[in-house]
């Protein structure tokens, strides 16, 4: 019988954990890697310490005039960043030349926007109505604390209206799907009536020439309420953001109604203007883009050709030339009596330019919808618009959210180009304040500040879109 002997045990494996092992594996695994690591460290050594020295160690934070910085630098013999410049000019950087006493209006609009937008963006957190309500109450208290009772009432209406509309929408579901001719007629009459009432009220209380926008918003709300079934609270929030909110923001920011002082748009500037251009650009470009994407996919040759030509031309020219066109050619296109302000011209240019990009994103989504979806809707005998609105577009938009986010990102970055036609957005203000005789020579501070603000926003949006993409599993690749 053979006597088995166990072989001597192997030495314990090399250390698999710990800092040294990690470094050896990830930084110094071969000669080339070691060299690369050293090069990387060298680059970091060149960049980080000098920047840190300039931005933090030698910098000057306190005080409120240039002399403080100059004195501090003279005393230490080293020059660093003079953040006092940013501190003194912060109001300008954020609000431009908007009168100081009226700046609460901007803050109020932004707060309402945040209240409206947060629940729909973080819909995972706010999936329960109760959580939305709690959030709303906190927002309401904030508004009341900072801005008083009338803004609080408006905020309450804006935030809690979706619940009411949701309730109504559920009750009216039978009416929305009804194809009965009488029902349709009654609905149309009601819309006409309420629309006329809104028009009348708007003209009486706001002023001549202000009726149409309010009427349009009301009619859109009623249209959705009467003709679309099962609209959720979130969908209502989106609809309100596209109908009521723009009106509110417009009257709030421009003023000249309800005893609010008139602030002309050439006083607008800073990061506030950046946000105005970016958000109104997005809000207008998206609907136009969707229409053009539908047109491009249309079976009607004329409509298709018109859309294709527009999209391809808009996509092949630079935004700068579109802005040029908006600032020099729009006045030529319109009759002499119609004057168009500079901001509005830029907004129109940006809207149509980005609409072409949006259209391409949406088209990608439309192409990804299985053909069976179209066929099923057609088999039910549904007309085109109903098929699109109820079956195709909801799926498409879900699919293209990441693409839209990327476009929004580049729109936000491209708002800086309005500086080229003389509008003072954050970058424009930064450049303008460098030219101030009192603060000459603080270019770096201004650019670094503007860069950080843009970077934080863009980075947040790109992270959000990546998260959304993972959550929805809609990567087209």
């Amino acid at each position: 019988m053979k006597n088995w002997q166990s072989s001597p045990s192997l030495p314990s494996p090399e250390q698999q954990q710990g800092l040294i092992k990690w470094c050896r594996m990830n930084l110094f695994s071969s000669v080339v890697n070691t060299l690369l690591t050293l090069t990387g460290l060298l680059i970091l050594w060149w960049l980080i310490p000098p920047f840190f020295q300039w931005a933090v160690v030698n910098s000057c934070w306190t005080g409120d005039s240039r002399e403080v910085c100059d004195a501090a630098f003279a005393a230490s013999g080293k020059t660093g960043a003079c953040w006092v410049f940013i501190k003194v000019r912060l109001g300008m950087f954020m609000y431009g030349f908007y009168p100081e006493v009226e700046r609460w209006r901007i803050n109020f609009v932004l707060l309402v926007l945040a209240l409206g937008l947060l629940p729909v963006l973080a819909y995972g957190i706010f999936s329960k109505n109760l959580r939305q309500a709690i959030f709303g109450v906190f927002g309401l208290l904030t508004v009341f604390y900072f801005f008083g009772i009338i803004p609080a009432i408006f905020t309450a209406a804006f935030f809690f209206l979706p619940f009411l509309l949701d309730f109504l929408s559920a009750r009216l579901a039978w009416l929305a799907v009804s194809l009965d001719l009488w029902h349709t007629l009654i609905k149309l009459c009601l819309m006409l009536l309420v629309g006329a009432l809104t028009f009348f009220l708007a003209v009486t209380f706001i002023g001549e020439g202000h009726g149409w926008a309010s009427t349009l918003a009301t009619v859109v709300l009623l249209l959705v309420l009467f003709f679309v079934r099962n609209v959720t609270v979130f969908a209502w929030r989106w609809i309100l953001l596209f109908t009521i909110f723009p009106l509110f923001a417009f009257y709030m920011l421009v003023g000249n109604v309800f005893s609010l002082a008139h602030v002309e748009t050439h006083y607008w500037g800073g990061f506030f203007l950046t946000l105005v251009v970016a958000s109104s650009g997005m809000a207008t470009a998206l609907p136009i883009g969707i229409l053009m994407a539908l047109g491009r996919r249309s079976e009607l040759p004329v409509i298709k050709v018109v859309c294709v030509v527009f999209i391809e031309i808009a996509r092949s020219v630079p935004l700068v030339s579109v802005l040029f066109m908006a600032s020099v050619m729009f006045p030529l296109f319109l009759p002499e009596s119609v004057t168009f302000n500079k901001l509005l011209r830029a907004l129109v240019g940006i809207a149509f330019f980005y609409a072409a990009y949006m259209a391409e994103v949406v088209r990608g989504g439309l192409q990804a919808i299985p053909k069976g979806q179209y066929e099923a809707a057609k088999a039910l005998g549904w007309p085109y618009w109903r098929m699109m609105a109820v079956v195709i577009l909801p799926q498409t938009l879900r699919l293209v959210i990441p693409g839209l986010a990327i476009n929004f990102l580049s729109l936000l970055k491209d708002t800086t180009l309005v500086a080229v036609i003389g509008l003072l957005d954050l970058l424009g203000i930064a450049k303008a304040s460098m030219a101030d005789a009192e603060w000459l020579g603080f270019t770096k501070e201004a650019y670094v500040f503007a860069g950080i603000v843009f970077w934080v926003f863009c980075f947040a949006i790109s992270r959000y879109s990546v998260r959304l993409e993972k959550k929805l599993h809609t990567s087209l690749h």
Partner: protein, 390 residues
């Protein structure tokens, strides 16, 4: 109900007639809009007494252009000024695209490096440069040249013969000598011969199975022939080095701060996007492909050239094309830092002549040509590298 099929369809319920109606409405709408815009424009032009047409192209431009490869002066015509701008755009876009692709590829590959530090460094590069507006970056580099770099007297001198100052980048070039021309001709001949040789070697390998070390032969030719021509030409070594005279440099070649800032901004910004595209392209090739290639005994270079790259390129090329177009379009931001590109010259022309419609029209046509030709070339290339299926 049972007679419905034979019943005549009402006009508005017939899809075909409805489609026709919609299209007629569209045509009418577009026509009315165009009529409205054109009639307004004509009325406005008449009121401002601006004559339409491209006659202004022959008039004297009367403005200087900072840099030009052509011989241009303020006495030349608007047409020539626009041509100078066009060439400037072409130059900055071409150099920009080449540098962007090189830098982006390096960073994209570095992003996938097994070296933790290198990978994180390139990731931070991408995050940093992608999310800052390109115009801000351009302004920053422009300010870097004008406000941070010293005057020519205290110019930075990183390498012998290269000077960095607020007047731009100045570096020495070899003094002109016929031998260089001969060397250039030799280089072109070597490249053409190399291409022919490669094709012939391919055909020979296909028919006879014999392979040829074409890579080594071509390298030897491309380096050797120009060197030989240079030696035969007398091996001139005289250099035209920049020398500080008074307040500025004399001699050498000067790259203006505007051009350098524009190029730097565009390249650094777009390279971040290209890096992401390259990374995604390489990652799209499954690991099994590489393992299979190694296991049948291909050398590392062959694995990359014959297996990984052909597959990765198919994913990389389409988005890369759009980034190249983006760079070309973004080069129009030159107007903000004073580099005389096409948009900038056209803008000046519009301001001086009031010919807004012709000017903007020219801009659109030029960029349309750029986009169409770039995408045509890339489509050709894309077709060439497409997976050949049986």
């Amino acid at each position: 109900m049972d007679t419905a099929s034979s019943e005549k369809i009402p006009f508005l319920r017939d899809p075909e007639k409805r489609a026709l109606l919609y299209q007629i409405f569209t045509v009418l709408g577009v026509a009315l809009l165009s009529y409205y815009l054109i009639s307004n424009t004509l009325a406005n032009l008449e009121r401002q007494s601006i004559s339409t047409g491209f006659g202004f192209l022959h008039k004297e431009a009367a403005f200087e252009i900072g840099e030009s490869v052509l011989d241009y002066s303020a006495a030349d015509s608007y047409g020539k000024a626009l041509l100078v701008g066009f060439i400037n755009t072409l130059i900055v876009s071409f150099i920009g695209i080449v540098l962007t692709v090189i830098l982006g590829t390096i960073i994209g590959i570095a992003r996938l490096s097994s070296n933790w530090l290198v990978s994180k460094l390139s990731a931070s590069y991408i995050e940093l440069f992608q999310d800052i507006p390109v115009l801000l970056q351009l302004f920053f580099w422009y300010a870097f040249f004008y406000e941070i770099l010293p005057a020519p007297k205290q110019a930075l001198n990183p390498v012998t013969g290269v000077f960095l100052s607020n007047r731009g980048l100045v570096f020495g070039v070899p003094e002109y000598h016929p031998a260089y021309l001969a060397a250039l001709t030799a280089l072109i001949v070597a490249i053409i011969a190399g291409i022919i040789l490669k094709k012939w070697a391919h055909r020979r390998q296909d028919t006879t199975g014999k392979s040829l070390p074409t890579g080594k032969i071509i390298t030897a030719m491309v380096i050797g022939l120009p060197l030989l021509a240079w030696l035969l030409g007398g091996a001139p070594t005289a250099m035209n080095t920049p020398v500080l005279k008074g307040f500025n440099f004399k001699g050498g070649v000067t790259v203006t701060p505007e051009f350098t800032a524009l190029l730097l901004g565009l390249v650094l910004y777009t390279a971040a996007f290209v890096a992401e595209i390259v990374r995604a392209g390489i990652q799209s090739v499954s690991k099994g492909q590489q393992e299979a290639a190694v296991s049948i005994g291909l050398k590392p270079g062959q694995v990359l050239n014959l297996v990984i790259l052909p597959q990765a390129l198919r994913v990389i090329v389409p988005p890369l094309t759009s980034q190249m177009l983006n760079l070309t379009k973004n080069s129009s931001l030159a107007v903000a830092i004073g580099y005389p590109d096409f948009v900038s010259v056209a803008g000046t022309t519009i301001n001086q002549t009031g010919q807004a419609i012709e000017g903007v029209g020219l801009i659109m046509i030029v960029y349309l040509i750029f986009s169409l030709s770039t995408s045509a070339f890339m489509n050709w290339y894309n077709k060439k590298i497409k997976l050949v299926e049986r």
